[in-house]
């Protein structure tokens, strides 16, 4: 399911979406732009994988979706972070930080 994802690791995309949504509700295109901008285009996110990820998060209950209008007057959905989603984000972040810590320690051990 994630083979085409060129994110760093599974779950990274979801994490970044949650993080972005913390600042406020957003629709698909805007999310994509923000993520690209924030990572300075370092992370290549295939935009197409955004939507499946959003659906997964909808199913898991981390986001809610409302119908709205795009700037070009098309019907789209606007996604909003839920309290459960907020908690999930905290969990993901701390997991990521622990992993990072673990890797750097391991690397230091190798180097020294």
């Amino acid at each position: 399911m994630h083979e085409d994802d060129r994110s760093l690791f599974p779950g990274a995309l979801e994490m970044m979406i949650l993080q972005t949504l913390r600042s406020g509700p957003s629709h698909g295109y805007a999310l994509a732009q923000v993520i690209k901008r924030n990572s300075d285009d370092l992370l290549q996110v295939e935009e197409g994988s955004l939507y499946p990820a959003l659906q997964r998060m909808l199913k898991a209950g981390w986001v809610n979706a409302d119908w709205g209008m795009s700037p070009t007057n098309r019907k789209i959905r606007i996604y909003k972070l839920t309290p459960a989603g907020r908690k999930q984000l905290e969990r993901e972040v701390s997991r990521f930080e622990r992993m990072l810590e673990g890797i750097s320690r391991a690397m230091k051990a190798v180097q020294s």
């Binding site: 085409d4 629709h27 698909g28 994988s49 939507y51 499946p52 199913k59 098309r74 019907k75 789209i76």
Partner: protein
């Protein structure tokens, strides 16, 4: 959330991106292109989004089905061939198995049929043969053979013996006896009909465990002398004659002129204890004394006569008692009874208890083995059909390699493609299964009609056997999917580039190219072998039939109209019966078109015979001074002339012979030679016939031998005796035999009318032609020959379908090869010959396998053949020729197409 909604969202995304890019100065087209590129595969995104919610599979299935349908419509020939093969295979199998199940396996619709047993007995060295159709009769030796059946087992018991069985409450929970009267005169609600009446003992319904659909069934208290006369009728009869079965209760039904009150209606499924007939009216056993004239009931003593065998008996075994145990326990009792009852010359008998779950079993016995053979054949057909499907699918899969490669390269997942191919196989199989179902229904109806042709009052209705249908559908489905799947798996593993580049006819990987051809050809060879088996079987049975149909009969069977009447049932006495017969005969002979007319007390070829003890004084045959059982046929005047049995000496029986002192008789040639050495020496000689005392018989003529009582028995030494002297002869159903100038059927209506005018109270039995009787005797052979021929043709068609497909495919694969050959100078004829030669090789390979197997198996069917050896070389040769011809014809069209290739086009063909 629907597809369209997702798509809208995705397109909005792309649109927004494009607009942003345009605003930043990019030209519109480039902006859109970039926006789409950045987004990636929209379809994939939408699909995967929807996959999250799990609805996707249903939509995908729908899309797969539609795609499958389109693919099938595009390849109409392939679809037609595959579906046809499937339908034929499934249909034929299901029809035969359903039919088999009805005939062989259907149980009586009674409670717990497994614990029922039919009682029969056997006399060592018993006369084999049966007398069918008539009611009871007074003479002991007649009676034993009349209760007999094909296998020498006798199923008729005297009433005192029945009482003996009833006492065995240690063995049996219940005992029942009944006497069936076929085509008895029944009067009800103002009309009359001929129907089957069963006189049943009090324990009949309780033992069978059958409850009335309406009212009550007959009970033991109804079966007493002096009990009020009550009756049960079948649901069919009640509805037919009263409109509604509720109207039947309390009404009156008369049998043989005696009134009974209807107190109950039997359930719909219940047809009596004999599956060959359908009983209309059930009367208490003791009422037999009321309805029958004295001569039929041993002057009222039939219930105490120890040696009158007239009752069919069934028992319900107690729990824990096996049939073997019951049989062993009953045997000494009955053996002793029989010894006592057989009078001055004590005779032996052995008790047999047979499985009663399915009721009397003559039908089953007749058809059991042939049906097994048919089952084997039909299984072969299914195999051939599945092989066809396999071949067709394999061929098609190879030719779709490129299409699949393209789809894979466009982003379809392997699973998706496989799933879609499977769906195609599934849809194909389902359509084939549906058609197979229709074909099966039709097949079952046809089989039943064919079987009923030989029997009157046939009630078995074969129903479609759903488990078998499901099984055959499953088998076909599995083979379709397996053979659709294997190449699919292989194809989707391919390196996409190489298969896109390679044309179907380029060498490619030589090893891989070998596989599909070899498997396909192997299947064809197998199909040819199997088809040969069926062809050979068909050939044998068809020839058996033609031999039977050309058996010399000794008389002229054409244009003979026969019908039976029973004057005794209408109350005539012996003398008035005979007078009535003669008057009727004269009136009938006055019908325009009737050339000759006569009477007989039995049929020449209906399987039943009369035999009595004759003493022939002065006979050269050793020991003929003592009584010897001799075959005879009681006939009226002009019988031999009407039947066109050539008279060799003396004369036919005439009207005047009635007043003679001795009974006139005409001897058959064998009889004359056997007893008196020559034909002439028999004239004027006397014999003594033991029938209602000793009767003097004088031989007044000798005729050529004729078949009696059936087709296959050698022509016997027999006597045709004047039926008028003994009331015992005239009390049977008497047949009127009319020889007509043209089609006998045309005289039928006139004959019926004349009878009704003469006396409406005399019921007429069945009316038929002699040819119909002959056909019904060999009905089994007719059935077999027709079915096997049909199966063989079916198998050949299916195999040829496969051959056609494979050849067509092979030709298309080798198009450029053929083009090269032609460019190098090969003629169309050469190409044709080349392809046909390959087909011939396949055919020979198939025959090389099929012929030895057929020869080995043919001894299994030897018992069904007549006049022909199982390994008859002519039949083998004919089957071989037929198969090769079929194969060549099947391959001819595609081969011809190849021969007409334009080399330029062929060479450029990819």
């Amino acid at each position: 959330m629907t597809w369209n909604q997702m798509r809208s969202e995705v397109e909005a995304h792309i649109e927004e991106r494009a607009h942003d890019l345009i605003e930043s100065g990019m030209p519109e087209r480039d902006a859109w292109a970039q926006a789409r590129r950045e987004f990636g595969n929209t379809t994939l995104a939408i699909e995967r989004s929807r996959e999250v919610w799990g609805w996707n599979w249903l939509e995908q299935l729908g899309r797969d089905v539609r795609y499958a349908y389109r693919a099938m419509a595009a390849n109409r020939l392939f679809t037609a061939l595959a579906v046809a093969s499937l339908a034929l295979g499934i249909g034929a199998n299901t029809a035969i198995y359903s039919f088999m199940e009805s005939i062989l396996l259907r149980s009586l619709p009674v409670k717990d049929p497994q614990s029922l047993a039919i009682l029969k007995f056997q006399r060592p060295g018993a006369h084999k043969g049966s007398v069918r159709g008539s009611g009871s009769n007074g003479n002991m030796s007649m009676q034993i053979t009349s209760g007999g059946s094909f296998d020498g087992l006798i199923s008729a018991f005297p009433y005192p013996a029945f009482e003996l069985f009833e006492k065995r409450t240690d063995l049996f929970e219940g005992v029942l006896a009944y006497h069936g009267q076929p085509e008895a005169r029944i009067t009800l609600n103002g009309g009359s009909l001929l129907g089957d009446v069963d006189y049943v003992s009090g324990g009949y319904f309780p033992t069978l465990g059958v409850k009335a659909a309406l009212g009550r069934t007959l009970q033991p208290e109804d079966d007493r002398l002096g009990a009020p006369p009550v009756a049960n009728v079948s649901l069919g009869l009640a509805r037919q004659w009263f409109g509604d079965e509720h109207q039947a209760l309390g009404k009156s039904v008369a049998a043989s002129g005696v009134n009974f009150t209807i107190v109950g209606v039997t359930p719909r499924d219940f047809f009596g204890a004999n599956p060959e007939k359908s009983t209309s009216v059930y009367l208490p056993l003791h009422s037999f004394l009321l309805t029958q004239p004295l001569r039929f009931t041993e002057r009222g003593k039939i219930f105490t006569e120890k040696a009158t065998y007239w009752l069919d008996t069934m028992v319900r075994l107690k729990p824990g008692v096996t049939r073997e145990r019951a049989q062993a326990a009953l045997d000494p009792t009955f053996a002793e009874y029989f010894r006592e009852a057989s009078g001055p010359t004590p005779q032996k008998a052995r008790m047999i208890a047979m499985d009663g779950a399915r009721g009397l079993d003559s039908l089953r016995h007749d058809y059991e083995q042939p049906l097994y053979v048919l089952m084997a054949m039909v299984a072969l057909i299914l195999t051939i059909a599945c092989a066809n499907i396999a071949n067709l699918l394999l061929a098609r899969a190879s030719s779709r390699k490129r299409e699949l490669a393209v789809r894979l390269s466009l982003g379809a997942s392997r699973g998706r493609v496989i799933r879609q191919l499977l769906t195609e196989s599934l849809v194909l199989s389902l359509i084939g299964a549906l058609l197979g179902l229709l074909f099966a229904k039709w097949g079952v109806q046809t089989l039943t009609a064919m079987l009923a042709m030989g029997r009157q009052g046939f009630t078995l209705r074969a129903e479609l056997n759903w488990p078998v249908l499901a099984a055959t559908v499953a088998i076909s489905l599995v083979s379709a999917m397996a053979f659709g799947l294997a190449p699919a798996l292989r194809s989707t593993k391919l390196d996409v580039f190489s298969s896109l580049r390679a044309s179907p006819s380029s060498p490619g990987n030589p090893k891989r190219r070998w596989m599909p051809i070899n498997l396909g050809q192997a299947l064809i060879v197998a199909q040819i072998a199997l088809s040969f088996l069926l062809l050979m079987g068909a050939g044998l049975f068809v020839r058996t039939l033609s031999k039977l149909q050309s058996i010399e009969l000794g008389f002229n069977p054409k244009n003979l109209l026969i019908f039976e009447i029973n004057t005794l049932q209408a109350g005539y006495q012996h003398a008035s019966s005979i007078a009535f017969h003669e008057q009727l005969r004269q009136k009938l002979s006055a019908i325009p078109g009737v050339v000759n007319s006569t009477l007989a007390a039995g049929g020449q070829l209906d399987g039943g015979n009369w035999s009595l003890d004759f003493r022939v004084p002065g006979s050269v045959f050793p020991d003929a001074e003592n009584k010897k059982e001799t075959l005879l046929l009681p006939v009226g005047p002009a019988y031999l002339t009407t039947m066109q049995i050539p008279i060799l000496a003396g004369r036919d029986i005439t009207l005047e012979d009635q007043t003679r002192a001795s009974t006139a008789a005409v001897a058959s040639e064998s009889f004359a030679k056997k007893h008196f050495g020559s034909i002439g020496a028999a004239l004027g000689r006397h014999a003594s016939m033991n029938f209602e005392g000793d009767q003097d018989v004088e031989i007044v003529g000798v005729v050529k031998d004729a078949r009696y009582p059936d087709l296959k028995t050698p022509m016997p030494a027999m006597l045709y005796v004047d039926y008028r002297h003994q009331s015992g002869f005239a009390s049977q159903f008497i047949r009127l035999v009319l020889r007509t100038a043209g089609d006998p059927a045309q005289t039928a209506t006139a004959a019926r009318q004349i009878l009704r005018q003469a006396d409406p109270g005399v019921p007429m039995g069945m009316m038929y032609t002699q040819q119909m009787t002959i056909d019904s005797t060999i009905i089994q052979e007719i059935l077999f020959a027709r079915l096997c021929a049909a199966f063989a043709i079916l198998a050949m068609i299916i195999a040829c379908i496969g051959l056609y497909g494979t050849t067509a495919y092979s030709v298309s694969r080798r198009t450029s090869e053929i083009g090269i050959r032609m460019a190098l100078g090969a003629q169309g004829k050469t190409v044709l010959a080349m392809i046909l030669r390959e087909v011939v090789l396949l055919g020979l390979a198939g025959l090389a396998i099929g012929v030895p197997i057929a020869l080995a198996l043919s001894s299994l069917v030897a018992s069904f053949l007549y006049g022909i050896q199982p390994r008859d070389p002519l039949t083998v040769a004919a089957a071989i020729v037929a198969m090769m011809l079929g194969a060549l014809v099947a391959a001819y069209v595609p081969a011809q197409r190849a021969a007409r290739f334009d080399p330029m086009v062929a060479l450029r063909h990819e």
